[in-house]
Amino acid sequence: MVLRWTDFKTDVFVDWCPGCGNFGILVALQMALAELGLEPHRVVLVSGIGCSGKVPHFVNTYGIHTLHGRTLPFAQGIKIANPDLEVIAIGGDGDGLGIGVGHLVNAGRRNVDMTYLIHDNGVYGLTKGQASPTLQRGLKVKAIPKPNVNEAINPVMLAIAAGYTFVARAYAYDTKHLKETIKHAIQHKGLALVDILQPCPTYNDIHTKEWYAGEDRIDHETGKPIPRLYKLEEIGYDPVVHDVAEEFSKKVAAMEKAREWGDKIPIGIFYKNELVPTFHERIAKRIPFYLTLPPAKQIIHDEKGSPITDIMDFLEELKIT
């Protein structure tokens, strides 16, 4: 059966503001799932809290809308319990880089084979526009009373420092490129993070669609705006770690690229390293049947309801007769 992206729609009303970048992300995600031919019941979307957190309700797959900042623990718990599921974690920049950043860093240490999409809009959308951790210091977006006093976090740089094995950036309104990036992320063996630049027309009046499109800078010759975004693949950038020896230099290259901001903002895959074993591989080293018989698939009782587990090993040790 060929899947179309509309197969991944629910009839829940999509209640984002008009013009919100989330619409682009939603469609790109639905298209990516369809193009990868993933059966809806095998996919689990896990989200945090925020405007971004509502995504699962709009997608016709299993959907878990969790707690603020906790999308990664839930997602990892699910994926570890049942590696056959295609697990995609979703969250806002406040969710993932503010309250949830401890999980973000520690997930890097595990490299569970799943995907993590960050809706990076520079604000706390759903609580009405406070500064998020990606908003640069000194900027005053619409709803905050005073300019932001905190330095910004660069999600790409942080993810690389934390050990993510796939780190990309995409743009909510370049749906095609975003869709391809999500597909790469899903197909990556290991933990993949995509930082998605997402205009929030309601609260982020600085990094708007128009700003990304460069409408404030008109090319004198063509009379057209000079877009701020460019694609890494177009400049021949190679994010892949082909050999353990080049790991660090690839990381530095990625960080170097990641800090470009302002006039030229790269999107695309910054870093990709499949040489690091996934968490599943690490468990399977200890529990050989783990991949075929993960926790979710084990039978724990017989027809009569009696446990099938034999605790004799334990009792033998504890015995004092």
């Binding site: 623990p73 699910i78 319990a81 979710a296 009782h301 009696s306 099938i308 334990f314």
Partner: protein, 643 residues
């Protein structure tokens, strides 16, 4: 059969092998057909501060200590200082001969608040702070002092083994004192040797060294103290298979038998031992040839991750749990509320310890009952089960999963440090009757052509469950209030219905779980006086109850195991008959008493409370009860035994 009741204590600095000594001692007794109960006390410290093990040996099951010490094996001077008062007349102290000149007030590990009290004591007794004087003083009240030259014996051992540095075998002081102890009570050394061998199994070199030490010490005692202690420890005949285990171990084994396949944890005392014990046995045996089983144990970055990973895992159909104690549970509270809202069958094993905050991280407490019941914003159903002894820890660990899945709600299994870190002998646990109940689950076959709703409104409030990944069963979860599909809903009518759907599961629990799974009743149904309690005081209460009824008092004991939802009707029925109700708890305010009053209107007439970080002993519970029964008691008695 003659009654055996022998109370042994080993004390020394943390890291000097107190636990090992206790385990070997306990095993040795077990091999001789004796029952043992032992409590472990230690500082929140890795090496150097005082720790001890208080062990009771009996010819029948015991599950509490007395205040008594019949024989104290003091590894160092501090052990003497701290415990000399507990040694009974006729009892003995094994002490290092070379320590007699120690000035006890200069012992660096004694804290100022201990010293000031101790100094006053010395003054009042007209004693110097010389250890020898203290011991002499004890002799006056009939305590025997067995001076053993630890260093000399170690030297002998070193010589025999060809070891040059004494420091390498200093750790064997523990086995030395075991040897002396068993020598003094004339116990069969073969059984002790067996215990040493089992304890150090797979390390033959260590076994050999320790057997030698044991023998040398045993012989020394025999020779130097031919009279021994005024007591002989017999060997009993039995064919019964028995085990010797701690609460941590009982929970671990119960969990895996109950089908737990994911355990998440963040290290914390006294919970972590359980997870590590499971991890060390991650590959499980099964009764069915060719079928594999294993547990994934995950050390998470914090307790927030621990509960949320476990909740996530349950949604896939795996039985999953997490274990923690107070500080960790505090961090799980938001996740618990999510689990409640989403009807997630996650099990949280909650090991109480001295609180608030970091409190007494390695000490006992029972302060968290109200917290366990009310933790998490909003109202949602949960079950809170409190085990009263190590055996119950085992069975409740299984039941917890069954309740969680049958009623689709989080279950908190409340244990405490006194259960977790005590060890006891039991006849091997019966598991034939154990059943796994997974509740109403729909598979792919049941989902063809139906529009599945995860939170469908039903009579009992419980809706059929589908695991993530099942074809035809797509649904959603959200922490927001939701409609039957699991999508966000802020509609007021739906809200009222959903609140009621969730909450009425507590009524289902009331109805469907038989009362004998919720309470235990001991003693005469028509007793005039009823003790009410929960958790680890059970052992001391039961023993006191036996003694007091033996003495002719009309007394019974209602132990509440399902503390929430409280089986209020039954509790009220039982308590209404009583003339005096006596609440026994290890917290300041008598929390269970408060809950009973809230739910039944019945007040506790007397409180016997304790909150000094040490478990209740039979001695003090017996005494306090007796005061109540004799009509002399204030409403509130606070127990204080334990150093």
């Amino acid at each position: 059969m003659a009654e055996v009741d022998f109370n042994w204590m080993a004390g020394g600095p943390q890291g000097s092998g107190v636990d090992a000594a206790a385990n070997i001692f306990g095993r040795a007794c077990g091999y001789g057909g004796l029952y043992v109960y032992g409590r472990r006390e230690y500082h929140s410290n890795i090496k150097g501060l005082h720790s001890y093990f208080h062990l009771r040996v009996s010819n029948h099951e015991v599950s509490a200590n007395l205040n008594d010490v019949d024989l104290l094996a003091a590894f160092d001077a501090e052990a003497v200082v701290r415990h000399i008062g507990e040694v009974v007349p006729g009892g003995g102290i094994i002490v290092d001969k070379d320590q007699l000149e120690t000035r006890t007030l200069t012992i660096p590990t004694l804290p100022p608040e201990f010293k000031s009290v101790f100094q006053n004591y010395l003054k009042s007794q007209g004693l110097s702070d010389r250890l020898g004087d203290l011991l002499e003083n004890a002799k006056k009240r009939g305590v025997q002092v067995f001076q053993v030259p630890y260093m000399e014996l170690l030297k002998q051992i070193a010589n025999r083994l060809g070891i040059d540095k004494l420091s390498k075998i200093m750790r064997m002081i523990n086995v030395l004192t075991i040897g002396v102890s068993f020598g003094l009570v004339d116990y069969d050394i073969k059984l002790v040797e067996k215990a040493v061998k089992t304890f150090f199994r797979e390390r033959p070199k260590i076994v050999e060294m320790n057997i030698l030490a044991l023998k040398i010490a045993y012989e020394y005692a025999k020779k130097s103290f031919p009279e021994g202690l005024n007591f002989r420890l017999p060997k009993l005949q039995t064919n019964e298979e028995r085990i010797f285990l701690s609460g941590n171990q009982a929970v671990a084994v119960g969990k895996v038998l109950g089908g737990c396949r994911i355990q998440t944890y963040y290290p914390i005392t006294p919970a972590a031992d359980e997870s590590e014990y499971i991890e060390a046995h991650e590959i499980l045996g099964t009764r069915i040839p060719g079928v594999d089983a294993g547990v994934v144990v995950l050390q998470t970055e914090d307790e927030i991750a621990a509960i949320n990973m476990a909740s996530g895992a349950t949604l896939t159909g795996a039985r999953a749990s997490t274990s923690t104690s107070g500080p960790g549970f505090s961090l799980m509270v938001e996740g618990l509320s999510w689990a409640g809202n989403n009807e997630v069958p996650v099990v949280i094993t909650y090991y109480q310890r001295g609180a608030p905050s970091t409190g007494l991280p390695t000490r006992h407490g029972q302060d968290d009952l109200r917290f366990a019941i009310h933790a998490g914003h909003g109202e949602f159903p949960r079950i809170v089960l409190a085990s009263g002894d190590i055996k119950e820890c085992f069975y409740d660990a299984i039941t917890a999963f069954n309740y969680a899945e049958r009623f689709q709600l989080p279950v908190i299994h409340l244990i405490d440090k006194a259960l977790a870190n005590s060890s006891q002998t039991f006849p091997i646990f019966e598991t034939k009757e154990v059943k796994i109940q997974r509740g109403n689950i729909l598979g792919e076959d049941k989902l063809k052509d139906v529009e599945y709703r995860r939170f469908s409104f039903t009579e009992t409030g419980v809706s059929p469950r589908v695991f993530l990944g099942t074809r035809g069963g797509i649904h959603w979860y959200t922490g927001d209030e939701h409609n039957e599909f699991g999508h966000i809903s802020e509609e007021s009518a739906n809200r009222t219905k959903m609140v009621e759907k969730r909450m009425k599961k507590l009524e289902a629990v009331d109805r469907e779980v038989p009362i004998n799974e919720k309470v235990n009743f001991f003693g005469d149904k028509n007793a005039e006086n009823i003790i009410i309690s929960w958790g680890s005081p059970k052992g001391a209460i039961l023993e006191s109850l036996n003694k007091l009824t033996g003495e002719g008092f009309s007394l019974a004991f209602l132990q509440v195991r399902m503390v929430h939802p409280l089986p209020s009707k039954h509790v009220a029925e039982v308590l209404q008959k009583a003339k005096k109700i006596i609440d026994v708890e290890m917290n300041y305010s008598g929390q269970l008493g408060g809950i009973i009053k809230e739910k039944t209107g019945i007040s506790m007439d007397f409180q016997i409370l304790k909150y000094n970080g040490r478990p209740m002993t039979t001695t003090e519970v017996y005494n306090a009860l007796k005061i109540v029964l004799s009509g002399q008691a204030p409403r509130r008695q606070v127990l204080t035994y334990g150093s």
